[in-house]
């Protein structure tokens, strides 16, 4: 049986499934089964549900029933305390609609968002979603309630023409709307200049949010192994250029790498974890990377 650690789910196969919920299930169920085989430490809130009583703990939270049954003292945490509050910021701008080999970045990111949300909701964490392009367009607050996942999927499935990306403004608005400290997952291609958003990002981090940046990129964006000599039109601005990829490739790579470095720097400076997700990378791998790299710490401290 293939495990999540060695063979991922081919994004082409996964995205051929029309139902977004089913896609999320496929990824997450596979992930669960993989998790049993490779114990991961500290990636889940579940491990801190009970804790050995130590002197000075509030006796109100002592699990008396457990004490009576096993003669051991355990402190029971409140659900509210234990739950992770997560807000997914989803880039719905036009540049996300690009896809060189049949899989658009938007579709990939959508599945990723749904999968992550499903995963968290399975753990009884609360998940919210915000769609943005030039500003925040749709906002679903993070709640724990029946049907939240459906609402989330409906929002993700919403067709939108999108606009130009203004990540800075979106982050600013997200900071304004999320007063409680949460895990904020930014799903975007981060193609705009870091100068336009690093200030807002700094504010978000300063507000106590655990911000993770998941940069969804098409493989063609990475190496420009795509297209032919023609008029190239920018998806967002509509600018047209005559491009011969064979001639422009080396300069592009240089320029793009410089940009990536700048993005990396801008994120690192603010302590934001940066993950690159090319659209040909299996989604479960991305999810594992996301979870494995750093424990999710978006919860509010007691």
């Amino acid at each position: 049986m293939p495990t999540a650690s060695n063979t991922g789910i081919d994004p082409h196969v996964l995205l051929a499934i029309r139902d977004l919920e089913l896609r999320a299930r496929v990824v997450v169920e596979g992930l669960w089964s993989g998790l049993h085989r490779s114990p991961l430490q500290g990636f889940s809130v579940e491990f801190t549900e009970y804790r050995q009583y130590t002197q000075g703990d509030d006796l109100r939270y002592l699990d008396w029933k457990l004490l009576a049954r096993t003669d051991r003292e355990f402190i029971k945490k409140f659900e509210d305390e234990t739950n992770l509050r997560c807000m997914i910021l989803f880039d719905a701008s036009r540049s996300m609609q690009f896809g060189s080999d049949g899989v658009s970045k938007a579709e990939y990111a959508r599945t990723l968002a749904a999968t992550f949300a499903y995963f968290l909701l399975k753990q009884r964490d609360v998940v919210g979603l915000a769609l943005f392009d030039s500003e925040l367009r749709e906002y679903l607050p993070a709640r724990w309630r029946p049907g939240q996942f459906r609402r989330l999927l409906a929002l993700l499935g919403k067709k939108s023409d999108g606009d130009e990306t203004n990540l800075g403004k979106a982050l600013e608005q997200a900071a304004h709307l999320n007063s409680k400290r949460s895990l904020i997952l930014v799903l975007s291609d981060f193609l705009s200049s870091p100068d336009s958003w690093k200030r807002s990002l700094g504010q978000l981090v300063a507000a106590g949010h655990d911000v993770r940046a998941l940069q969804v990129l098409d493989s063609a964006e990475l190496d420009l192994d795509f297209g032919k000599a023609a008029q190239w039109e920018d998806l967002e601005t509509g600018n047209r250029l005559y491009i011969d990829p064979s001639e422009a490739r080396s300069a592009y790579k240089e320029s793009f790498e410089a940009h990536q470095t700048l993005v990396q720097q801008a994120l690192e400076e603010r302590g934001v974890k940066h993950l690159v997700a090319p659209t040909n990378k299996p989604l479960d791998f991305v999810l594992i990377d996301l979870l494995r790299s750093q424990p999710l710490t978006g919860r509010v401290a007691q």
Partner: protein, 687 residues
């Protein structure tokens, strides 16, 4: 080579289109959408690529197609020195309706009308067809299409002109609708002869008086593509005054006057007219002339006193009016015709309501024409025979009386015998000089008139189905008459069992009529029926020459009312009678049957009307009007016009544009093939 519509050549400028498309096609077609163009640097454009024309041969083909199309639209033709073949346009079929009514006698009108007509004829080509119809009260074809065709082409104009020059306007009124009906029938005939492509034209040459009748052409079916042209003729005088007969005023004993109507129309030059009365035979003025003032549109009445001893006929003349044709009015007055009715029967019968004579007397009492004198005379045979009398026999006749009556009938009297009793049948036999007349008893309850000869003058009045119902009149007879196999008498009416009811026999110059049955109310309902008096009057009118006829009539009525087969006419100034109907107004002695009297014939008063039909009247009637009141034609066309017409003719003969359009279609097919092949090749390379 020349072109007919050079402005279409401007369409060749559309060649620019394909050239542009071929230049910019590659630059615009392939487009790739990319998300991160900000990291891209534009590749240096290759200079020769921009000005490079894709598929130059295809471009050339496309340009040629557009140019050829523009050239075809310009309608080119080859100039040639070959003269244009004579016009192959369809022949003209022209029907000229020439107004010959009395109003065309106005000064200058007739000459103009004839000239107009001749002008039209001179313009006709040898293959054209002509028909001329004269229009007055009756329409008459002067020349038919067939007759025109029979004439040698070079003599047609002369022959027609001679015919027209010999023609004169009549004295009748105008009925243009009838003439137009005849004209349409003439055109229909053309259709029958499969000359359907001829240009059908009806030209009406008339003064278009308002009084002329045109309503009859409403709803007429006009042949396809036919045209109606109206050529209006005007006389020299702008206004006219005419005389109209209105009737007599006063009776025999008192002073008698004529009522004369004076009708003016148009613009009168002189408003003062005088009216004079003359004795027509002697020409002596009978009274002082009367001065009349009239203004246009007037229709006034004037009383003209007649001297007591004057008997007529008279002539009333209007002076001071410029148009003389309608200025004389002929007037005559005849005393009513009188009939002396000799009654052979008992005198007291006339006052006994159970006797036929009672009804006979009362039925004839109120007649004004003929004026009946009921004479219950003795049966004397020595009475002088009145000029026109009627004998009514209401008794048995002895042989001597019968002989006397017979001789009176033979010398011109009309007799009516009432066989109310079987015993009288013998008298009838004696009168007819036939012995086998008899009666037989009849046991029928009642009988009705079974068959009637409605052609008989006494019954012709009831010929109309509205009046021909005699079935409600019942008779109760105890006998029926039987006539011999050979008899000079004929049965006019018979009862429903076949027995004769009314018998008529001509004896010498007179007529004997016998009624089998009794008129008394207890024996029949006949004398009390509404049909009795009219029937009796018609029967007695026969004795004085038939139904009453007017003494004064308009020229239109000569043929319809006055004339019959026996009519003999004698104009006042001539001595001999003639069979021919008069064609001019005037006073005539008219002899019909046995009566002779004065008849005055006048010009129809409508012909004095000068106002004309507005053009809307013609439009309302649904006529295919071409040009209202045609102006004189301009025959001169300038040179450029004729050259242009030649060009059109040449172009329509050559029709080069058709071949060009075919060539364009073929080249378009080739172009499509080439373009498709190029496309598939390119796609193949791309794949």
């Amino acid at each position: 080579m020349n072109v007919l519509s050079p402005w279409f050549l401007a369409g060749a400028a559309l060649i620019v289109g394909p050239i542009l498309f071929h230049l910019i096609k590659r630059a615009t077609k392939d487009r790739i959408r990319f998300s991160a163009t900000q990291f891209l640097k534009e590749s240096p454009p290759k200079l020769q690529r921009k000005s490079h024309i894709q598929n130059p041969w295809l471009l050339l083909l496309r340009c040629f197609i557009i140019a050829l199309l523009a050239f075809a639209f310009a309608r080119p033709f080859l100039d040639s020195n070959i003269p244009i073949t004579p016009s192959v346009s369809p022949p003209n079929a022209l029907v000229i309706v020439l107004d010959t009514s009395a109003s065309m006698r106005r000064e200058g009108a007739w000459q103009t009308a004839i000239q107009r007509t001749i002008d039209q004829i001179e313009n006709l080509e040898s293959q054209d067809r002509l028909s001329i119809i004269s229009a007055s009260n009756t329409a008459r074809p002067l020349i038919s299409f067939d007759r025109w065709k029979e004439w040698p082409p070079n003599e047609r104009t002369t022959l027609t002109a001679n015919l027209l020059n010999a023609l004169e306007p009549s004295w009748q009124s105008t009925r243009l609708d009838e003439a137009l009906g005849l004209a349409l029938a003439e055109l229909e005939q053309l259709t029958d002869n499969s000359e359907t492509d001829a240009n059908k034209r009806i030209l009406v040459v008339s003064d278009f008086q308002k009084s002329s009748k045109i309503a009859g052409i409403a709803g007429r079916k006009w042949p396809k593509d036919s045209i109606l042209e109206l050529a209006s003729i005007q006389g020299a005088q702008p206004g006219n005054t005419g005389l109209r007969w209105l009737g007599w005023t006063g009776d025999e004993s008192a002073k008698r006057s004529m009522r004369i109507g004076i009708q003016s129309s148009g613009q009168l030059e002189a408003t003062e007219h005088t009216l004079s009365l003359f004795d027509a035979r002697s020409g002596i003025a009978l009274s002082e002339p009367i001065t009349v003032y009239s203004s246009p549109g007037d229709d006034r009445m004037l009383l003209l006193d007649i001297p007591k001893d004057a008997e007529g006929p008279f002539k009333v003349e209007l002076t001071g009016d410029a148009e003389p044709f309608d200025n004389t009015l002929f007037v005559t007055q005849e005393a009513p015709r009188s009939i002396s009715l000799n009654y052979y029967g008992l005198e007291e019968n006339a006052d006994n309501p159970k006797q036929a004579a009672f009804y006979l007397k009362r039925a004839t009492a109120g007649w004004s024409d003929p004026l009946v004198t009921f004479d219950i005379s003795s049966k004397s045979t020595n009475l002088p025979i009145p000029s026109s009398n009627v004998i009514v026999i209401d008794s048995e006749l002895d042989r001597a009386s019968a002989e006397a009556v017979r001789s009176r009938i033979e010398s011109g009297s009309n007799a009516l015998m009432l066989i109310s009793d079987p015993s009288r049948i013998e008298s009838l036999g004696t009168l007819l000089n036939e012995t086998d007349w008899s009666t037989s008893a009849s046991d029928r309850d009642d009988s009705r008139l079974g068959s009637i000869d409605f052609q008989h003058p006494a019954f012709v009045l009831f010929a109309d189905p509205r009046f021909s119902d005699f079935s409600r009149i019942r008779f109760w007879h105890t006998f029926a008459a039987n006539y011999p196999d050979e008899t000079i008498a004929s049965v006019i009416a018979s009862y429903d069992d076949g027995a004769p009811a009314l018998i008529e026999a001509t004896l010498g110059e007179g007529t004997l009529t016998a009624w089998v049955g009794d008129w008394a109310p207890q024996k029949s309902q006949w004398a009390l029926s509404t049909k009795f008096v009219p029937w009796l009057q018609r029967l007695f009118e026969q004795a004085v020459g038939g139904p009453d006829q007017p003494n004064m009539a308009e020229m239109d009525e000569v043929a319809t009312i006055l004339a019959s087969n026996q009519s003999q006419w004698k104009a006042i100034e001539t001595n001999a009678f003639s069979n021919a109907n008069p064609t001019e107004p005037g006073l005539y002695r008219l002899q019909t049957n046995r009566a002779e009297r004065w008849v005055a014939l006048n010009t129809p008063i409508e012909e004095s009307e000068w106002d004309t039909h507005p053009i809307e009247d013609w439009e309302k009637l649904g006529t295919p009007l071409d040009n209202p009141f045609a102006k004189p034609e301009t025959t001169d066309t300038d040179e450029s016009d004729s050259r242009f017409e030649n060009s059109i003719e040449l172009e329509s003969q050559q029709q080069l544009w058709r071949w060009m359009i075919i060539a364009v279609a073929a080249m378009l097919a080739i172009e499509s093939l080439i373009a498709k092949r190029l496309q598939t090749r390119k796609d193949g390379i791309a794949a």
